[in-house]
């Protein structure tokens, strides 16, 4: 049987189907007094807010801040006077809390579905998601969890953001939904997980059973249920071609990254956990260029202890062996809710008390992390990096605390090995003063995401000005060049851990500039190695000279196109 849907994320998958049906919300059998029902609603709202804040933090770590934003929007719905007020008004009329929620949900969903805008129609799913969460809280219904331990194509009527955030990414090999368009959450999540997705597959829920075998082609939107032997053969072959394309890169797994003229660079991975470190090795990374330690601090009621942190750092260093591991100390600010830190609400968290500034303000918290890192130093090739450094005093202070903690450990006869200390260059002042910093640090890592945002005063998450966020802006290229030249003048090395480092359009320019280490998401490593191994740094110098004379980003892009 063949079903035609709308292609939403590319790739071919052949796997068993699991039908995903959200748990039916329990009927509310007993309706209390108006006061009791209102109290249930208030409690459900508070509980939902806690859930959503957790989901937001979790998703930010797993998939990034822009994917997590949806849960921020859900939080806003829970504060919506029309939505909450509408539910309360119905309860006042003597209706039970769940019925009231459902009635207001339907009212808004109807309103949104009537809009002549695909994007807005999709937002009806958000109202359903929030309302279902509230109803589950009122009735005490458990959330449905997808529990499967083999490759699976997930078939659902629709997937809410909360559903997708909880999916088992390892075994989910594709999504098919009846509803939804290309901007639906399942499609967006599929693209970030690099698995195929098909939406708008009308009728599929009634046509298939869990356990059926399906072929899905994310390029064409075709789905074959319990396919014939010929179909299986055809699609297995097609999938093989795709795999081989990826495997062409596998030959480079244990190769070095060296340009044709013998210039050696290091390709490292950005990681957030021990699992990520293992994957980085499988994908050919020469090391870890950025270990984000934030995740250790999220989703919990107290700060991680020294011992807990030590064990994670030790394990990551051990897995990586001799390969360098650049650990960034806690980089967090007012845009994330960490209950135990009592962070004040800020109007402008990206220019506020975050990263190293927050660490200085929470001395115990910071010293605990430093001690854990020092204790782990003898297990591998550790490099410690401080984020958000804007002046040399900050670096000196952080280093002094590190030295003090080292003394304490020496006195306790704890072994501490030599390690490098560097800074993240992400604030323009640090880039401008890189000749000064280069005399005191062991290395730089350029954090382009923030460096671009701060230099060009452009929030790339803000759709209305995201076009101003431009890695090829002559000012950015000039700053990157300055940082690299300043470091090399003092015999220090420079890495880059922003998205620019893994951008195939930017890589030749960065090679020409002499960048020593490129840190990127692990799946990009082999493709970058392939690209760099056929470049010649010398031959690129002419293009570099032209680049430095350009006055616009367009001009620079044209050279490296």
């Amino acid at each position: 049987m063949k079903i035609q849907g709308i292609a939403a994320a590319s790739g071919i998958s052949i796997a068993k189907i699991v039908k995903f049906e959200p748990a039916t919300i329990l009927e509310q059998t007993e309706i209390g007094t108006t006061e009791q029902e209102l109290a249930k609603l208030t409690q459900a709202i508070e509980d939902s807010k806690i859930d959503l804040k957790q989901l937001e933090a979790q998703t930010a770590v797993r998939l990034g801040a822009s994917e997590a934003e949806i849960f921020g929007a859900h939080l806003l719905v829970l504060q919506d006077p029309e939505y909450i007020g509408g539910i309360e008004a119905l309860i006042q009329e003597g209706i039970g809390a769940t019925q009231a929620i459902e009635a207001v949900q339907n009212q808004f969903v109807t309103l949104f579905l009537a809009l002549d805008d695909e994007y807005m129609k999709e937002r009806a799913a958000d109202i359903n998601d929030v309302s279902q969460r509230l109803m589950r809280k009122v009735t005490g219904t458990n959330e449905s969890v997808s529990d499967y331990k083999e490759p699976t194509i997930l078939v659902a009527h629709d997937l809410t953001p909360s559903d997708t955030a909880k999916l088992n990414a390892e075994f989910t090999h594709g999504f098919i939904t009846e509803k939804g368009g290309k901007t639906s959450h399942s499609a967006i999540f599929a693209r970030s997980l690099q698995i195929p997705a098909i939406v708008g597959a009308t009728g599929i829920m009634s046509e298939v059973q869990s356990g059926d075998i399906a072929i899905m082609n994310g390029e064409t939107g075709e789905i074959f249920i319990n396919p014939t032997a010929e179909q299986l053969e055809h699609y297995k072959a097609l999938r093989q071609v795709q795999l081989e394309k990826r495997q062409g890169l596998q030959a480079l797994l244990h190769e070095k990254t060296v340009t044709k003229d013998g210039h050696h660079v290091e390709l490292a991975a950005n990681i957030g956990s021990l699992d990520d470190a293992k994957k980085a090795l499988e994908q050919g990374a020469d090391g870890v260029g950025l270990f984000r330690t934030e995740f250790l601090y999220l989703e919990r009621d107290t700060a991680p202890t020294e011992q807990e942190q030590f064990e994670i750092y030790r394990d990551v260093l051990t897995v990586m062996g001799e390969r360098p591991v650049v650990v960034r100390t806690l980089d967090i600010g007012g845009d994330k809710a960490i209950p135990y830190l009592n962070m004040p609400k800020e109007d402008n968290p990206f220019l506020g008390l975050r990263a190293i500034r927050l660490c200085f303000a929470n001395e115990d918290l910071f010293r605990t992390q430093l001690r854990a890192l020092l204790r782990a130093s003898s297990y591998g090739n550790l490099k410690i990096m401080f984020p958000m450094i804007s002046s040399i005093d900050e670096f000196r202070q952080a280093k002094q605390w590190l030295d003090e903690e080292k003394e304490v450990l020496f006195e306790q006869d704890v072994e501490v090995s030599d390690f490098e200390i560097g800074i993240m260059v992400e604030i323009p002042s640090a880039a401008i003063l890189s000749p000064v910093f280069a005399m005191e640090v062991d290395f730089f890592s350029i954090g382009t995401n923030d460096l671009i945002q701060y230099t060009l005063a452009a929030d790339r998450m803000n759709e209305t000005i995201s076009h101003l966020y431009e890695p090829f802006h002559p000012a950015i290229v000039a700053l990157v060049k300055l940082v690299i030249d300043s470091a090399h003048a003092q015999g220090k090395w420079v890495g880059m851990c922003g998205e620019m480092a893994g951008d195939s359009a930017a890589i030749p320019l960065l090679v020409a500039l002499g960048l020593d280490e490129f840190s990127m998401s692990a799946p990009s490593v082999l493709a970058a190695r392939k690209q760099i191994n056929i470049l010649s740094k010398d031959a690129l110098q002419e293009k570099l000279q032209q680049t430095l004379q350009q006055s616009t980003a367009e001009g620079i892009r044209a050279i490296w196109h």
Binding site: V77, Q79, D80, Y83, L111, F112, L115, M120, E463
Partner: protein, 87 residues
């Protein structure tokens, strides 16, 4: 009551992200604030209300504010509309 009329210039109309910013600002004032578009009007402190209007590029909206902080509210809303590139 204070009021002011604006024309939405952003290509995408009054979309989710700028709408959230607008609602967050409005929610900070004690005045009653409404957004009028065509024949419809909604509470500007309600994200669902504002999004359900589906104001497109070129849409003309009027914001009215009634209360002790109505003038400051209108000024700030004007500022956020500008900041979000909406007008």
């Amino acid at each position: 009551m204070s009021q002011k009329t604006f024309t939405i210039k952003s290509k995408e109309g009054l979309h989710a992200r700028p709408a959230s910013a607008l609602v967050k600002v409005a929610a900070g004032f004690s005045s009653e604030i409404f957004l009028h578009y065509g024949e419809k009007n909604v509470n500007l402190k309600s994200i669902l209300g504002v999004m359900s209007l589906g104001v497109p590029a070129g849409g003309e909206i009027t914001i009215t504010a009634t209360g002790s902080d109505e003038e400051v509210a209108l000024q700030q809303l004007d500022a956020i509309l500008t900041e979000q590139g909406l007008i």
